[in-house]
Point group: C2
Chain length 339, copies 2
Amino acid sequence: MHIALDAMGGDHGPQELITGALLAAEQADVDICLVGDETILAKHVEVLAAGREAGRRLTIVHAPTTIGMDENPVDAIRKKRDSSIMVAFGLAKSGQAAAVVSAGNSGATLAAAVRTLGRLKNVARPGLASIFPTLKGPVVIMDVGANVECRPIHLYQFAVMASAFSRLYNVDKPRVGLLTIGEESGKGNSLVKETYALLHKSALNFIGNVEGRDVFLGDVDVIVCDGFVGNICLKISEGLAESAMKMLRDEILKSTMAKIGYLLARPAFKNFQKRVDYAEYGGAPLLGIKGIGIICHGKSSAYAIKNALIEAVEMERLNINEFISRELADGVTVPAEVV
Amino acid sequence: MHIALDAMGGDHGPQELITGALLAAEQADVDICLVGDETILAKHVEVLAAGREAGRRLTIVHAPTTIGMDENPVDAIRKKRDSSIMVAFGLAKSGQAAAVVSAGNSGATLAAAVRTLGRLKNVARPGLASIFPTLKGPVVIMDVGANVECRPIHLYQFAVMASAFSRLYNVDKPRVGLLTIGEESGKGNSLVKETYALLHKSALNFIGNVEGRDVFLGDVDVIVCDGFVGNICLKISEGLAESAMKMLRDEILKSTMAKIGYLLARPAFKNFQKRVDYAEYGGAPLLGIKGIGIICHGKSSAYAIKNALIEAVEMERLNINEFISRELADGVTVPAEVV
């Protein structure tokens, strides 16, 4: 299986991305097309792949331009058809790659994916899913930013797609929750109330409303919400985790005793960080497109990139898209008035 | 100054609430009317206030019924006019109390406050503000659940009211941010885009859009959003903080070395917890009503109740409501089409 990696995107530059590609090729049966400036990439590959068997599984596909992190996504993908992101999706379109992984401009990656590959049949809106760590297992939240304004049918389809994706975590009958501000069925805004009715009569394993405080408990496998709310949830969680670690570090650095204590407890801290680290879960898959596209955090480490590449391999192996298409073809009949 | 405390609400029972009242009376010049079953309250006061000077600042006002945590708020306040929450707001209405503090059913407290005291002139919708700890100082977020569906004028007024409230933290020209999913002015849903225009031309110190990840950085004093988004932010932050602490504790308990390390670093952990503990910030004020109403977490400790009572004293002392009325009378002219 070939996967295209936008080797120019991300905050840490091509070295980190290429290192991730090598790690993935060492762990799984996968070939990786590094897309980007061939002179730059060849130089890095020469150094990083020296003496590593996995080096033979990397190829370079030239793309002369790149899309910056701050460029307007829609403008950029229209003007820079020869950018690494666009060339990567071109490889997916032509069948030369089964999936695309990018840590570059996420809006541009999203737009390029939908524009180049198109939507799966019957999918009204592709959406971005994100995997959150919880006290028990991971929970898939969708949408986390692709669709700012949604209708009930979109949330229903997010539930179907995210349920299909949760097969990656060996979840048999994924429990689906609807994110809102109270547990009773009447709680929430009008979007939530209408979506509740739709999910309630669907074939999904819908367990009802969930509140913000339930997200990290692990008693639900899939949580649906519109992309505005989902993106704020994602960002606020990241922000809180980072700020809390900073505050804790500040306090520890104030006393020598606390510093010694921290050193003794460090393995526990490391295990904790591993449990909550988004890098463990790869990237955010864009579900509902004809193909596989995974959007990684700009600051992804090589380890996170490796996991995103493995995630793409797994999505292909488990036929997630076929599963989505089948569910949306045979699934619940959606009344015309809510579409 | 007299403050009415719903002495029957909350998960920990009257003891915790009365202890909080005693602590407040020991710290500030305040008299507290404990509202609830007089037989029960008198028994607790006898024990808890024994030998404490502050005991003389407590009085008991009888209320024969209570509203349970799971009762429907609107039904409950209509049917139970003699409940501790309703009697407490009755004291505020008649001028016998300057403020009400409750850790009981929050929906009922909210409804009772609006129903009994009414709105301040020119306030379209009262809203609930919450104080979040950040890397720098506290940030006030409004609305966190009183208004599920909002219009731009409501968010603008939340900004005015929360700015007035932030005087409690000695903030001179509070920096106001609009919670959305991107920093540029065009980012967000239609509510956010229209609110942006309104805030931009207002007299407020509007610094533009803020994202979820900015909430805990402390570079903004006031953040506005609709009550659906705000409530989810509040609950997800609480849930993440609790779950993360549980995970960290699990990891520490796995090794003796880590346990020793934790013991050495415990003062640092305690300081950290103090910095992020909502109990430090009292309760959530309902702003925009003719009076002062503070809603506390059901699981509030005596310490949190004490801080909520002190918060009420400060709100009265600083004339927050007068400030809000003046701002909304002289403030920016809101174009008719957005009201």
